[in-house]
Amino acid sequence: MAIQDLLWVENLTKYFPIERGLLRRNVGQVKAVEGVSFVLKEGETLGLVGESGCGKSTLARVILRLLPPTDGSIFFEGINILTLKSGEMQRLRKRLQIIFQDPYGSLNPRHTIESIVGEPLSIHKLAKGKERKDCIVELLRLVGLEESSLVRYPHEFSGGQRQRIGIARALATRPKFIVADEPVSSLDVSIAAQIINLLKDLQERLKLSYLFISHDLRAVKHISDRVAVMYLGKIVELAKKEEIYALPKHPYTKALLEAIPTLDPVIKRRRFILSGDLPDPADPPPGCPFHPRCKEVKSHCKEIKPSLREISLDHLVACHGVV
């Protein structure tokens, strides 16, 4: 682990047990996240893409210890956060924050903006009284909201404004690392662009690191330094942004990139559209999890699980077909 590595995730695994019947018999497991490892450097943005249900949000929640992992370890600034006692974790929480997907569900409808943005300040005893209020106003300005928002309630704001409030709340404790869990997927395109630009701007000013989760490849391209592609709980490809968009190696990554809407009719005709659904994560296919949908499938793909290996500098792929 290098000095500049802020977050270091190794073999992170999260299974949800499936319980049936009166006695809650354990009849299986949903393998939401399976053996995920990656490193996040300081000031860097790692994009995480994948279909709905591939375990992106679960991964985010496990990293923030909102869900207990089944296996694996997470080091934040060299500290294994999974072994921390709850009090120590509580103190550490101000350094890692999260922005949620749903700008409607992530703000308590019964609290004013002042109390929503000010709550982390009070919990971590960062400021109180006049100082607290000044701090809240400053945070709101930082995300482009007026001071008059203080006494208002979430329902009085638009989706984009609410997302700004969510960002202000996440910034309140001056974190180093923010997980952005699909922050723009419920916003329309122009608002989404504003929010992404805001996040980029804040990153420069406050030296933040992001784990940016999205299924919108264009948004990820815009903000990320490196991109990880997730399929069925596993990372299948991880590389620098320029490389992954120009020279995708994994068939799934290729399919995702080809699915980006385009106006060019020539490209449109060449396009390969991914068919079929994501397999049931409780019963993943043997071998490579992607083989039932892969157009480059070979016989051994159905039996042997491919492991993530480095095929060129900082480019990792989990596919038998890539040499």
């Binding site: 929640r61 923030l64 909102l66 924050q97 999260i98 997907q101 309630y153 969510g166």
Partner: protein
């Protein structure tokens, strides 16, 4: 101009005429119960055997000579027996008794503090003013209704409050902790809910000695009704806590490091408030009816104390209803109260959340 969710709800409520009507009726009823001893012309146990089943007293504005009097007056009633030895009441027109505002009568303590004997209205000694007729022992039904309202109306509130404290606490714990505790509490709830409410009520009452003071009986009824009601409440609260626990604003609070207790009290329970207020309003009639049912069967409030249930007990005989139809008025009061609570509850439900379906506490 900023408006909190509660304020928006109250503004919406203002545009709901039936709910306003219900609210006004309830306000008047509760007011009359609080000031029962002032408004009632007689004490609830002030009897006059000579006036058994005296019909409602007629108010007169014109005297024998046909002269108009601004102040209404009444004549005392006397009776003869008909051939079935049934009393037939008739006005005795020899001396009129004018109706007086702030008339002196039975002594009482206003609001339990000031000793006084002034009543809102009444007539001088010598005649009895029966606004809604008299019962078998010649007690004024109107006065007894007001006193009875104290028991019947307050049992609804107190019973509900206890149920909600129990239901919120138990349901909240069950939903928040989850797992084995949740499973155990929910099975217990189902066991309580499985027994038909009315039988449980009778069985619980039967488990206590029949000779209890009226205060003890009152408390006993409250406890019995709450014991039956908490299970349904706890189940609904548990479900709502379960769903709110998973919302992103609770996750956000956890990500910020807010402590569990603070999450329950600052983030989860306030979001149940609208449901609680609506459900509270809609379930109060259940308590009023429960008390009435117990008292009607003679298991609740005992004579001479009045409650709407035991007043109605006199109307259990069809012959009584035929000859003295006014003894049914307690039923009318129960009906109006239940309706008013339902109107208000429906209005509150619409006001708080136009999409919500509020549950009721079952009996």
């Amino acid at each position: 101009m900023t408006r909190s969710p509660t304020r928006i709800a109250l503004e919406r409520l203002r545009r709901h005429p039936l709910a306003i009507l219900g609210g006004v009726i309830l306000f008047l009823l509760y007011l009359s119960a609080i000031f029962a001893d002032f408004i009632a012309p007689y004490h609830y146990d002030h009897e006059s055997r000579m006036n058994s089943y005296n019909p409602p007293t007629r108010l007169h504005f014109f005297d024998e000579e046909g002269r108009f009097h601004l102040r209404p007056f009444i004549y005392p009633y006397s009776y003869e027996f008909d051939k079935f030895y049934q009393r037939v009441y008739k006005e005795d027109r020899t001396r009129p008794y004018p109706l007086k505002l702030l008339c002196k009568g039975d002594e009482y303590r206003l609001l339990g503090i000031f000793k006084t004997n002034y009543h809102l209205f009444g007539v001088d000694e010598g005649a009895r003013f029966y606004l809604l007729g008299a019962d078998s022992r010649g007690r004024d039904l109107f006065s007894r209704l007001l006193y009875g309202g104290r028991v019947s109306l307050s049992i609804g509130l107190v019973g509900c409050l206890i149920t909600f404290i129990l239901g919120m606490t138990i349901g909240g714990i069950s939903g928040y902790l989850g797992g084995k505790v949740d499973n155990l509490i929910m099975r217990l709830c189902e066991m309580v809910m499985m027994i038909p409410g009315f039988y449980l009520m009778l069985a619980l009452r039967a488990a206590f000695p029949p000779e209890l003071s009226s205060v003890q009986v009152y408390l006993l009824i409250v406890v019995i009704l709450s014991f039956i009601g908490w299970a349904g409440m706890a189940r609904v609260v548990r479900g709502m806590v379960l769903s709110i626990r998973e919302t992103e604003f609770v996750l956000a609070a956890r990500a910020q490091g807010v402590k569990d207790l603070s999450i329950i009290f600052r983030h989860i329970l306030p979001n149940l408030l609208s449901y609680v207020i609506v459900s509270l309003t809609l379930s109060i009639p259940g308590y009023i009816l429960g008390e009435s049912a117990l008292s009607l069967l003679g298991l609740g409030i005992q004579d001479p104390h009045a409650s709407w249930g035991n007043l109605l007990a006199e109307a259990m005989n069809i012959a009584q209803i035929k000859f003295h139809p006014w003894i049914l008025t307690p039923g009318l009061f129960i009906f109006v109260t239940v309706m008013a609570f339902n109107f208000l509850g429906d209005g509150l439900r619409d006001a708080f959340d136009p999409k919500a379906i509020a549950g009721r506490v079952r009996f």
